[in-house]
């Protein structure tokens, strides 16, 4: 097969999910790099194998689970050979040969031959009516049998076996599940959860033969029954073998590629032959083989990256989680839950509600999780597990779920996602209903949260419904859905995570954005609206005195120093120190508001005044007038120190224990102008009545008679979270030091756009205490770095612009009538 051009040839053997996902990832990176040929042994296009269970249960049709039809391949110039099994790989001449003689030469070969079901070689296993549960062909055979026959036996009480049994039962068959072990799904469930699962399935009419070993499959031509080693028998017109899968390595082995249990690959998904890659269930990576879909996605991404010759991704193995795709049964399992003398168990059981949760902790981290009946928090536990987040601080509420870790916003709704009607609104920002999301998922074959966001906008704004959207995705896709990859890149421009980028900036002394792009192999010439603001912040935080802030990498609010409104006007919020003002200041604000015809004047929640609806060209002059009255920018638009809210304190209040107002003003004077990963709010309350609501701020001070309590990590917005108590100090000087040190630690440690609340939940309060409270030297160093950065940060951006800085930002161009060059008239 000659190609008409000089492009290198990529041949894919295996038209399944892993191989085609790799091709799709490759097309995203370099759509025209290869001349691509795909061989598939099955006679149809690429389909979603994980959805075979719903097809068997008649919850979906075969058409619905097709991923790519013939037209898809044609549109992308991909040659597809359906129903052609490759018989031989000729590595010397770099070509593959199919059973029917079709040949294709390759420069790069991608093996994605998947796995084969294990058929136990007991007598009778070749009788008619004995099938595996692996492909559309098997499902067709099972559906046909269910129409003509009554008794089914499923051998294997694992994930696949139970899904098959459930499907057959839904087709009206009487189903007996035979399992070698004495409890179901022993690789995913402990005995307790397995018992509850069995009880629930028995209630639905499924029968079980536990601890039974099959001796013979009975029958002449067609199967009639199964006999066990204990001599007992059961009738059967259909026997489904679902005892496991085995990586399909036959082709690779015959070509002399190194195989063990699977085709052995390195971290770049390359086999022992450098021109041959392999992905999916056929591979063995660092000793592990995988049969779930999430690891395949990660492998596909890495492999595509190397096929595109970017050469930067590494696959480091996957931690997997499992959910059972049986409607009405919620079951989640992840990690290692066997436990030993070095582990601890947290167990919750409510038999009447059918809920069981067990977390296995080791070294203060989650090592394994089994959830039955209430799996809402499965993805949260899984995330904690993968991030190796210390859980000591949240341990007392851990089993009750994320909703009980300070979140009073959405937890309760999420538990009802599956039962929600289609018209239920999921995303309140963008008005997206459950039905729209479900439809988009099936119509556009979406698999990830990012896909759903792109297509529906759900959870694309404030993000508070992310958990709900993930639940919808999980219930729609079924069990193998796994939320995010273990390592999340900053954006599509890079494969590096926030933490990696940050580490590289300090370690390699990268001081410009271009240096970051080059050192970290950015895929785009100048980033995008997601990564550039993040990089700008990281560079600024790392090199406060060396880095030249890049206005074009800031979101418009921080570039124009006002908040953009829906009609393109801006809002102006002058800083009002500690919320204390004077008649003269109020008069000045009133005059400015009238002079510039400000349509709306409003008090903010942060004890300041918001002038809304200002036309952009008016901003510099307004700032000049406000500046003349002593005002500076309130940074109400920035990922920066916002306000310090105060109550009146001991100066006026009969309950006040300290001068909360004065302390608030001191804090605001010290911290204003500092850029932070996300907005940063403070408050000082004069007594434990806490009128300044200090316990929902990023840093809150609650004055008591004997000193000052410091509270951190609160949030009153998207997700309400009360602060954690950090420590108590005795003097105002100490408050300032702790506040500065805390802000600096947050500035240096949190990811861009991560508020203090999720940051502390991620890294653990203990870590913050260790660095700030227990280690006086480190606290002093953090405080010193904060003050050093403030030396250059405390320049009023409004005064600069009122004096003419960055005038191009504010003044439109007036075109000159067809005249030759006259420059700008402004």
């Amino acid at each position: 097969m000659d190609t008409a051009n000089d492009k290198p040839r990529l041949v894919l053997i295996g038209n399944g999910m892993a191989g085609m996902r790799t091709v799709e990832e490759l097309l995203k990176l370099k759509p025209d790099m290869y001349d691509i040929t795909v061989f598939g042994a099955e006679p149809w296009g690429n389909y979603n194998r994980i959805m075979l269970s719903p097809v068997l249960a008649s919850e979906k049709t075969v058409d619905e689970i097709m991923l790519n039809d013939d037209a898809w391949y044609a549109e992308r110039g991909i040659t597809l050979h359906k129903g052609k099994r490759i018989e031989r790989i000729d590595r010397v001449n770099r070509r593959v040969i199919a059973e029917d003689g079709t040949e294709a030469p390759y420069d790069r070969l991608l093996l994605a031959t998947g796995s084969d079901p294990v058929m136990i070689p007991v007598p009778g296993h070749e009788l008619e009516g004995v099938v595996a549960f692996r492909d559309i062909h098997d499902v067709d055979a099972m559906l046909a049998a269910s129409r003509a026959h009554r008794h089914a036996v499923v051998i294997g009480g694992g994930l696949l076996g139970l899904e098959a049994a459930n499907g057959l039962m839904r087709q009206g068959m009487e189903v007996t599940v035979v399992h070698l072990m004495d409890h179901l799904m022993e690789r995913q469930l402990d005995a307790e959860a397995a018992g509850m699962l069995r009880g629930s399935l028995e209630q639905r009419g499924m029968r079980f033969r536990m601890a039974h070993q099959t001796e013979t499959i009975l029958g002449e031509d067609r199967v009639t029954g199964v006999r066990f080693t204990d001599g007992s028998e059961v009738d059967a017109d259909l026997v489904v073998m679902a005892v496991g899968i085995r990586p399909n390595t036959a082709l690779a082995e015959s070509a002399g590629l190194h195989c063990e249990r699977g085709v052995v690959v390195n971290d770049t998904m390359q086999t022992y032959d450098p021109s041959i890659y392999a992905v999916g269930e056929c591979v063995q990576h660092r000793g592990a083989t995988y049969g779930l879909v999430a690891p395949l996605w990660e492998q596909a991404k890495v492999c595509a990256n190397h096929l595109a010759e970017y050469g930067i991704g590494r696959y480091e193995g996957s931690m997997t989680s499992t959910k059972l795709k049986v409607t009405g049964i919620d079951l989640f399992s992840a990690g290692d839950f066997t436990g030993d003398e070095t582990t601890e168990d947290l167990v919750f059981k409510d038999a009447a509600r059918g809920v069981y949760k067990r977390l296995v902790l080791k070294d203060n981290r989650i090592q394994g999780a089994v959830l039955y009946g209430d799996t809402l928090d499965g993805s949260w536990y899984f995330q904690l597990m993968r991030d190796a987040t210390p859980v000591a601080d949240i341990r007392e509420n851990l089993l009750f779920g994320q909703a009980h870790i300070g979140d009073s916003g959405h937890g309760d709704e999420a538990s009802r996602v599956a039962a929600m009607p289609d018209e239920a609104e999921i995303c309140g920002c963008n008005g997206v209903c459950k039905g729209e999301i479900v439809q988009a998922i099936s119509e556009h074959k979406l698999f990830t949260l990012e896909d759903v966001r792109a297509h529906t906008k759900a959870s694309n704004s404030c993000g508070s419904c992310t958990g709900l959207v993930e639940s919808v995705l999980a219930t729609t896709l079924g069990g193998d859905y796994s939320d995010a990859p273990a390592k999340k890149p900053v954006c599509a421009c890079t494969d590096h995570s926030h933490d990696e980028v940050r580490a590289a900036i300090s370690r390699d002394g990268l001081k410009t954005m271009d240096a970051v792009f080059e050192a970290l192999d950015w895929k785009t010439p100048n980033g995008c609206h997601v990564c550039r603001p993040a990089l700008n912040y990281y560079l600024l935080a790392a090199w406060p005195k060396d880095y030249q802030d890049d206005a074009q990498s800031r979101f418009i609010n921080e570039r124009a120093h006002g908040n953009i409104q829906k009609d393109g006007t801006y809002s102006v919020v002058p800083r009002i120190w500690g919320g204390v003002t004077t008649p003269a200041e109020l008069r000045a604000i009133a005059e400015v508001a009238e002079r510039y015809q400000v349509p709306t004047v409003k008090f903010t929640g942060g004890q300041r005044i918001d002038l809304l609806g200002v036309k952009k060209p008016d901003l510099p002059a307004m700032w000049r007038d406000l500046g003349a009255a002593g005002f500076v920018s309130g940074h109400a638009y920035g990922k920066a120190l916002r306000t310090v809210k105060t109550c009146v304190g001991s100066e006026w209040c009969r309950f006040g224990t300290q001068d909360s107002t004065g302390l608030g003003i001191q804090l605001e004077r010290m911290t204003w102008g500092s850029w932070t990963p996300h907005k940063f709010k403070m408050a000082v309350s004069g007594c434990p009545r806490n009128c300044a609501e200090a316990t929902i701020k990023d840093l809150g001070v609650v004055c008591v008679d004997s000193g000052y309590e410091l509270h951190v990590g609160g949030n009153g917005g998207v997700k309400v979270r009360a602060t954690d108590f950090l420590c108590k100090v005795e003097t105002e000087t100490e408050v300032l030091e702790y506040a500065g040190a805390f802000m600096q630690f947050y500035r240096e440690d949190a990811r861009y756009l991560e508020r203090t609340a999720p940051w502390i939940e991620r890294v653990g309060l203990t870590r913050v205490k260790e660095r700030l409270v227990d280690d006086a030297e480190n606290r002093a160093a953090l405080y010193a770095r904060f003050l050093e950065s403030q030396e250059v940060a405390q320049v009023d951006p409004w005064a600069e612009r009122a004096a003419g800085h960055a005038a191009h930002e504010f003044i439109p161009i007036t075109p000159v009538d067809a005249a030759p060059r006259q420059g700008v008239s402004a």
């Binding site: 694309n460 100048n526 995008c528 609206h529 074009q552 191009h808 161009i813 075109p815 006259q822």
Partner: protein, 123 residues
């Protein structure tokens, strides 16, 4: 075609934009990192957000209101979004930026030598 002298190229910041007052509303004039210029009606096809205020990256701009990403060449929304804003012919000669606003008042087919105008709008 009727080319209007707009401004020297250096008056538009690289990876930035300026606003030009057109006869039927604002026009956003963009400059890429490699000094190419593009002109779009300053209205996102989504909710009319001012594209001139967005972050410019590659040959695209991200709307400041809801992060739609608009192709500077065609004015079309990228990714899963769909919609289009009017693109105007624009060019640079000897460091001077020229804009053709004839399409701002009439939907003419335009000079084929100019930057292609991929989508039209009424009025």
């Amino acid at each position: 075609m009727s080319w209007l002298a707009i401004c020297p190229l250096e008056d538009i910041p690289p990876l930035g934009a300026r606003v030009v007052a057109g006869p039927n509303g604002d026009i956003a004039v963009f400059r890429t990192a490699d000094d190419r210029v593009f002109a779009l009606r300053d209205q996102c096809p989504h909710k009319g957000g001012p594209l001139s205020q967005g972050i410019v990256h590659g040959e695209r701009v991200t709307c400041p209101l809801h992060n739609w990403v608009i192709d500077l060449q065609s004015g079309e929304a990228t990714g899963a979004d769909s919609g289009c804003t009017h693109a105007f012919p624009i060019r640079v000669t000897d460091g001077q930026v020229w804009l053709d606003l004839s399409g701002a008042t009439a939907n003419s087919a335009d000079d084929p030598s100019a930057v292609p105008v991929a989508c039209r709008e009424a009025g």
